[in-house]
Amino acid sequence: MIKQNDKISITGGLLDRRVFLKKGLVFSVATLSSDPLHATRDDARLPWMKTPGATFSNYGQPSTYEQDVIRWTMANSMAGGNGVSWTPLHKMEGTITPNGLHFERHHNGVPQIEPERHQLLIHGAVEKPLIFDMVALLRYPMTSCFTFIECGGNSNAAWRDEPIQVAAGYFHGMASCSEWTGIPLSILLNEAKIKEPAKWVIAEGADAAMMSISIPLDKMLDDCILAVYQNGERIRPENGYPLRLIVPGWEGVLNVKWLRRLHLTNRPSMTRNETAKYTELLPSGKARQFTFVMEAKSLITSPSVGQKLENPGLYQISGLAWSGRGRITKVEVSADAGRTWAEAELQQPVLSKCFTRFRIPWQWDGKGTVLKSRAVDETGYIQPERSALIAARGKYGYFHYNAIVSWGISNQGEISHVYTE
């Protein structure tokens, strides 16, 4: 329970972010209901304690009681392999996305690639065009990169005039975070010997859409990897098995799945996905093109829209922040619609271009209010309010929505998505 001398840091009921850790505060809601004085010894032994449990499994699955922790899928009614699925961020904690819950965007389905028939071709402005099979690639030195992948179109429903009322993950969950392990791309490009006038690399996947996109060579040499493993196991088919290009911090579409070809050129090829799509129309009629970096963003995942606060008392606010430009340096939370802000605790380690978990205790007084979070990254960039983003970009850019997310709390504890400005 909160004692009178526990300092409530600012208005809105937010407490010092370290209060849980320092004092071992307990939630005011009693969760233990059984009365040990009246229970028999038999009652205390629940059914699964009376018979042998299940035997071993070759590949573990989530509890059958967690079957609502799933991706939300949406596809073209005439072409079921063209669509997206969202990560259920509102049902998750920590920073790593389980492989089966990583978001998807496919243009024409998930190819079932036989690894022994998959090859990677590097050609164009290189002295030695090279082809690699998977057996060869698996012998290359590998490194790991903990990074988020976020679709450029994530959160796009927030451009709408009315706040959409869907669970946080099914709205902002075209973003996921994994440990990707693979070969630094620079090793393979140097083996092929880059030559003038290489400035761009066109990357192509081995799916039915032969998805292609142009990426600056500088970025490829800086920190891109050819991932083979995701969170310790071989990449799942829907995430690019057997080979995926990882472009840390940049739009998801550049992280080409099922990678089969890298074409070094002096210019982009102006594919559909860098002209008709993934460009942001401004009110002037001009469109922003090659807006690769996913800017800093955050949202509170718990409590969040669709959930309910059962009664006044102590809650832990928990959420995710990330920036395509580097490390998150600060996340502030407001429990009074943005009038005052308190700094949340950042879960360590805080990694560059990676999901960062933030948490802060909050004493809810039972009155209606609005919760918000605001991320700051190492460049000093501050996540903007929605009104500021729209003032800068208009409402019809579709891609790169990264404004502050607001959850309205009713005096009944119901939570809805709201716009505050």
Binding site: N76, S77, M78, A79, N82, H107, N108, L121, I122, H123, K128, P129, L130, I131, F132, A136, R139, Y140, P141, T143, S144, P184, S186, I187, L188, N190, E191, A192, I202, A208, A209, M210, M211, S212, P216, L221, D222, R260, R261, H263, T265, R267, S269, M270, T271, R272, T275, A276, T279, L281, S284, G285, K286, A287, R288, Q289, F290, T291, K395, Y396
Partner: protein
């Protein structure tokens, strides 16, 4: 030597471009020109990558009606897939329409995309002539060429799209 390389590998987490040269096992096989030609389908606005072939909107319409109309609708007005033609609102309207005719900056993108990704039930099945023809039909629907105009390697490159100057390269701008 092993220890030294291990150290390089750890450092490589931060900056692997220098270390990379030292530790490559060099297992790539030289790719033949034939293989590259077979694999490379990239088409550029200046015409690089365009194959020999030709088509008109008249021929393209028949192909469109057979393979494309189910998703893209009559005359490219949209169905389960987005609209390709028939913009009623300008890019500065609220809300705007974004079609090939008023948004796509390069005609070559049409050929590149149809050639690699369409039609969706059997991508790669259209001949070069058929891809040119469907490209011509979509350009015709968007009021960019005449119904009888022949689209080929040369004429496709010569087309100036209405929104050719509509894109601002943000990456270049940030680099400056």
């Amino acid at each position: 030597m092993f220890i030294r390389n291990s150290l390089v590998f750890i450092v490589s987490l931060i900056s692997f471009s220098v270390a990379a040269k030292e530790i490559s096992p060099n297992l790539g096989k030289v790719a033949s020109i034939q293989l590259i030609q077979q694999w490379n389908r990239d088409v550029f606005p200046d015409g690089e990558g365009l194959p020999i072939g030709r088509g008109t909107a008249i021929i393209g319409k028949a192909i469109y009606q057979q393979h494309c109309i189910a998703c893209h609708g009559v005359e490219g007005m949209g169905s389960s897939a987005e609209e390709l033609a028939g913009a009623e609102h300008a890019l500065t309207d609220t809300p705007p329409d974004k079609t090939i005719g008023n948004y796509w900056p390069y005609a070559s993108t049409l050929f590149d995309f149809i050639n690699r990704a369409m039609h969706i039930n059997n991508p790669g099945s259209l001949s070069a002539d058929e891809v040119y023809a469907v490209t011509a039909y979509l350009l015709y629907l968007n009021g960019i060429i005449e119904k009888t105009s022949v689209i080929n390697q040369k004429t496709l490159v010569a087309i100036k799209m209405p929104n050719a100057k509509g894109m601002v390269n943000i990456y270049k701008k940030e680099a400056q």
